[in-house]
Assembly symmetry: C2
Amino acid sequence: MKSSLARSEWPVAVTTARACDGCGLVQRCFLARPLPDDNGECRDIVRRRYPIARGERLYRRNTPFTSLFQVCNGSLKTQRETPEGDLVVTGFFLPGDVVGIDALADRQYQSDAYANIDTEVCQLDFERLLSHCTRKPGLNAWIISIIGSYVRRKDCDLSWSCSLQTHQRVLRFFLDLHDRLTQSSQAPSSRLALPMKKQDIASYLHMTPETLSRNLAQLRRQGLLQLHENRFTLPDTTRARAITGL
Amino acid sequence: MKSSLARSEWPVAVTTARACDGCGLVQRCFLARPLPDDNGECRDIVRRRYPIARGERLYRRNTPFTSLFQVCNGSLKTQRETPEGDLVVTGFFLPGDVVGIDALADRQYQSDAYANIDTEVCQLDFERLLSHCTRKPGLNAWIISIIGSYVRRKDCDLSWSCSLQTHQRVLRFFLDLHDRLTQSSQAPSSRLALPMKKQDIASYLHMTPETLSRNLAQLRRQGLLQLHENRFTLPDTTRARAITGL
DNA sequence: CGCCTCATTGATCGTTGTCAAGCCGGGTGG
DNA sequence: CCACCCGGCTTGACAACGATCAATGAGGCG
């Protein structure tokens, strides 16, 4: 799809449940239905199904933090610049994931967020969200758990991504991706679309594109991964898990 | 810390103010004094000056999460086990730092926490803390900012620690340590005590002890670091910052 | 004194980064 | 339709950084 989604067509202040129709997340998204103790006061904190075309930027580093974003469909990446000036991908975000948490500390986005493919997000006004928290313990707990999940992910990434060998990191990446993609869509399709470029995967895994390429070839030879035209399968997940420790 | 808002609204009753006497953190700790809007409801949240001897464990991985801990003095480390079974240090915690945040996601501690040297912490009961949040917005903001700082630290660690060369990582570590130690103690002593073992530093920086040792020797030769009998100095911080990009 | 852990230094090996060339597919323009 | 280009990807040759293995030294404690 070549996304004629123009900024002028953004659905401003769409709060009706209808905006969630067709959203792949609707079953498990907390935004899809009113909260148990919500009397409609939360209406103004969410802007639904905000579209971002492939390659477009959602937010920029060092700009004021206003909102968190939950991915409805598609995929995002966040990246930073090293002291030497080259870019490093710091995270991939799939349907259900919340983007922007790295900005909580000093209320400025710490990275640039881009759409890997055509994507839709729900925008959450953070100030309003916080102000509702004091009256709604469930909402507060939700936020804490969202942040907690993010922390856990980062912690795991950090402790393992550097100490594993490259082929383990690659395999682990695909295993993790597989798990995240199949849990968000009910249908556990065996052939999954790879929603990002290999360059970005390499950057995220702290290796060169060449090394990634070699490792993909090796994993294919070993029958641990099938990858063709941006669709992949993991033929032997149990062996893969044994290798990566996931 | 920096946020005077949180400080003025931190609603903790001091069970015994005396418990804070002699605590090195007393000037900048939220827990150190009672606050105007507190009616004594928060009395039971904090357990003060809990001592942990060198080498002792504060909490164990996969046990239920009950409390966060703020370091009063001394130093802690957290470590995990890799799939291969060897231990990796995932963090160092100095006076003022809050430990246990990695447990928020699934309410189980994700790592083992040990005292590097004799240490004292203040224990914060998390459930009670959360229950007070709904009535005290400042408390909620404080928690969010604590977690946010943790996230930022992890994010930075993750994006740099693997892409930098070993000598840069080592120098960066000492620079960071220097900054954290001098900001917590008012007196910016030039010779600072190194509150952890070199083995643990190596593990944290994802390198072998041998490599760390070689790099320390190199940095000494270059006049970027003095280190003798567990006390260190950074003679040329501006050059060091230029090298590490910090 | 012996034993232990931690730290240092040297020699060698292996994984991964670097540099270079070639391939493939999609897009554009002739 | 084809020629061409260009970015993304793959493969090969080589070099370098850091890990491994091994030996030694330094300090704490019975």
